[in-house]
Symmetry: C2
Subunit: 248 residues, 2 copies
């Protein structure tokens, strides 16, 4: 039996949701409302000591880390294949996914948190906020929540914007060579990246748009049309963020 603990179909949560839908694998969905801090509840921390989604549970075995979960799904359910057969392309899939995890995603996350977290914590009295923070297992995450609730520094925001721009430029350049991110076919590189980039034309229209990133826009259109993408997006519980909220 497969179970997935996840939030909305975006960012890290979407990566295994999309992989499962592509493979047509049945799974039990356990939805956690991140705006209600449900991932830090004592019950969930028993499942993942880091208090983070997504988590896959396969016949009782717990697998964390979205990039690793997708490699695990590929190992356990190899058809249809989402890792390139060509081993150099497979290495490129992993190099790109690693770049997304270590460089692009942390920078994008700071811009996203800057835009979203103040709304999450708006209604909380200071002692309620501190009680929520105290449940977060990782010190790095407690620090990030406390900072985001007020504001990241202008220097951190500028550096994050620079890194997001560098990432988008690299992605646009990769798509010059092939319609897919890691060689000749659709792969986990596309899944892992779509989960980060899907909302960018709406939230960061100055960075991802028809004029400056035509190949990313074309790739997004092809991705958006995939039945598995529609199925994963269809699992969303909350409406899309207000279009007037721009990440900048």
């Amino acid at each position: 039996m497969l179970e997935l603990y996840h939030g909305e179909p975006s960012a890290n949560s979407m990566k295994p949701m999309l992989c499962l839908k592509e493979k047509g694998i049945e799974f039990v969905s356990h939805y956690l409302d991140l705006s209600k801090f449900e991932q830090h509840s004592p019950e969930f921390v028993k499942i993942n000591a880091n208090g983070q989604v997504p988590v896959l549970v396969h016949d009782g075995a717990i697998i964390t880390e979205s990039t690793v979960i997708n490699e695990y799904l590929e190992d356990a359910f190899p058809a249809p294949a989402l890792r390139p057969k060509n081993l150099v392309e497979r290495a490129n899939m992993r190099i790109w996914s690693k770049f997304v995890d270590e460089y692009f995603c942390p920078a994008l996350s700071i811009l996203g948190w800057q835009a979203i977290i103040p709304a999450f914590v708006k209604g909380l009295a200071p002692e309620e906020f501190e009680a929520k923070i105290a449940r977060i297992p990782l010190k790095e995450q407690r620090d990030k929540w406390r900072t985001a609730a007020k504001s990241f520094t202008p220097e951190v925001l500028a550096e994050s914007r620079r890194k997001v721009s560098v990432s988008i430029e690299r992605m646009e350049k990769l798509l010059e060579k092939s319609p897919w991110l890691a060689g000749s076919g659709y792969s986990l590189a596309d899944i892992n990246t779509y989960s980060m980039v899907a909302a960018m034309p709406r939230l960061m229209p100055d960075t991802v748009n028809e004029k400056s990133t035509p190949r990313i826009v074309a790739w997004l259109a092809i991705m958006n049309a995939r039945p598995a993408v529609k199925a994963a997006l269809g699992m969303g519980r909350r409406p899309l963020p207000d279009l007037s909220v721009k990440v900048s």
Copy 2:
């Protein structure tokens, strides 16, 4: 034909050196002296645009990122297997290697750079130093070199020491369950971690020692005795760092 561009057998360079020696694969060694900034030379930047070692070249195909190189070697040369057959153990191998790459290694690197880089740049006039820095392709690396040449801030050093301690505690705890880091056998998790931890009893004896981390010390002794480890260490060109240089 296999070629490896690498520095001394430690840290990231050692990871593929050790993997190749375990598999008994012949390869052409291209040594770069990092203390002479050879990884930033225009010739090498043509091979890896990031100006970083190690790099594997297999029949002309360039593979970067030491963790990915080892997965590639496993895909291309599956015997002897260094990925667990059990898929949950395999996922644990990747989760641990990812933690080493994203959390442990960056923190350890700051402490290492703080100890080593001032000696690398001691003899350079300011304009020579700036000329060296100007050749570094990545902005993040230029910033890190400039900072390390003087000093990281006390806050950054304290946070790095904290993260190294957290990492060593987690590692000691993992080794309570098994003599290996990812399940029942020797795997890429051990290779990827040894390359970071091997020098710690000498350089950080307050952190890794018989009394506070007996399981890591026992694991290191077993690792040190492996013929492949000896063969990889035997490729070192420079003497081991002065024992009086302590990282703290």
